[in-house]
Amino acid sequence: MHKKSTHEVRVKSIIKETATIKRFTLQALNGSKLPAFSGGSHITAYLPKASGTLERSYSIFNLSEPGLLEIAVRLAEPSTGGSEYWHHHVSEGDIVKVSYPKNHFPLSFQAKHHVFYAAGIGITPFLSMMSDLSENNQSFELHYAAKSKQQCAFRDFLNETYPGKCHFYFSEGENRQRLSAELLMEHQIGTHVYFCGPEKMIQEFKSAAKSYGYPAFNIHFELFAPPVKRDTVPFRITLNQSGKHLEVPAERSMLDVLRESGIDVPYSCKVGGCGTCEVKVAEGEIDHYDSFLTDEQRRSNETMLSCISRGKGNVLIDL
């Protein structure tokens, strides 16, 4: 059965969690329940802007009644459009087009103990993960860094709902404390760790975990945005089947160029995290910017994620 990939929801309520973070509660238009989702899931919102439709992904959670979906959006400075739209152009009662829930950041089901490391708005995927674990009586703890108590979204909720399991670190004000990757040294065998926050924090925690000997299998992370682009330059692609040549300009992705030329490459996260838009490479050099492929796959030079990675010169693609 073919199912539409998007649907419309109504903004039931908007709560200001901190000076820069708003929580949006979404409900079905006909009052029925919205689809269920697993811990770590997200939705993609399609935001109509004068310059075209923006696609932005947000972790979903539910701290209110069953059948609703909630997201939390931090107003970015500067905003690339998504957070500005939610904060300044969305009101209670408005209708928004969103995707069905997807999960690229699931919980491990082999872990003996789960440890979440969040910075800032990176707390959002852990709200649904902790809810799932708590329901199943599984063992977990949270380490959550924010600038100050005032800027720490959901702090009271977390303390009340998961007493003793949440540790907070504030970088400003009295009793400053930094969230340190050295905490990773203390976890017992069988622990899985999850990181969500700015790219720099994720990189730091990922490399610390690896340096302590963690297997990649036990390390999970979610990037909100693609890795900061290095100096991107245009490149050319040649399609193996048709011999067609296409230019990928510096400011566009190969995925966009392929789709515009009528090649229906599937995609999902658009930040190099899920692998949906992978294409096979027959010849040519690749600059990998994704966080999905293994080192071995990258070295093979036989595959790339078209949403984020780039070629050098001309690349022959198996399409």
Binding site: Q110, K112, I189, A209, G213
Partner: protein, 148 residues
């Protein structure tokens, strides 16, 4: 054969009296690289609770080698998995005859095999080829239909 796990903060060597020879090269490498390790030679019927106590106090980044007879390896592996070790945190090597289970892809019956590559399913008579497709839930390998 064992391979040396690089970049680990600590190594554990667990062996019976049969298996300790196999670990010497690894121990030497750990010494050369200054990686802390613990080496325990256990009796065949060693107390599982003592082994469990040893395993549960380990931190992430610890890597375990198990060497010994098939039954010993199997038993210690079980304790390690319960304590939190996964297949990504350990290597094991059995000395002497091994005994594996093979699940028939036709009738789902379980067969005991040692080192054979082909067997005839004792339940339905299908000729089966041993695969390396292992199910930890069933503790068995999948037996494929032999294509001739």
């Amino acid at each position: 054969m064992f391979s040396y796990a690089k970049g680990k903060r600590k190594l554990l060597f667990c062996t019976d009296s049969e298996g300790n020879q196999n670990l010497h090269i690894l121990v030497q490498q750990a010494l050369n690289e200054n990686v802390p390790f613990e080496f325990h030679i256990l009796q065949e019927e060693s107390d599982e609770e003592i082994v469990n106590q040893w395993f549960v106090k380990q931190k992430m980044g610890t890597y375990l080698y198990i060497s010994g007879t098939f039954d010993f390896v199997k038993r210690i592996q079980g304790v390690a998995m319960k304590a939190g070790f996964s297949q990504h945190d350990m290597q094991s090597q059995a000395i002497g005859p091994v005994s594996k289970k093979l699940v028939c892809c036709t009738c789902h019956g379980k067969n005991e095999v040692s080192n054979q590559s082909y067997i005839v399913c004792g339940h339905c008579g299908q000729e089966l080829e041993m695969s390396d497709h292992y199910s930890s839930r069933l503790d068995a390998f999948l037996g494929y239909i032999t294509i001739k």
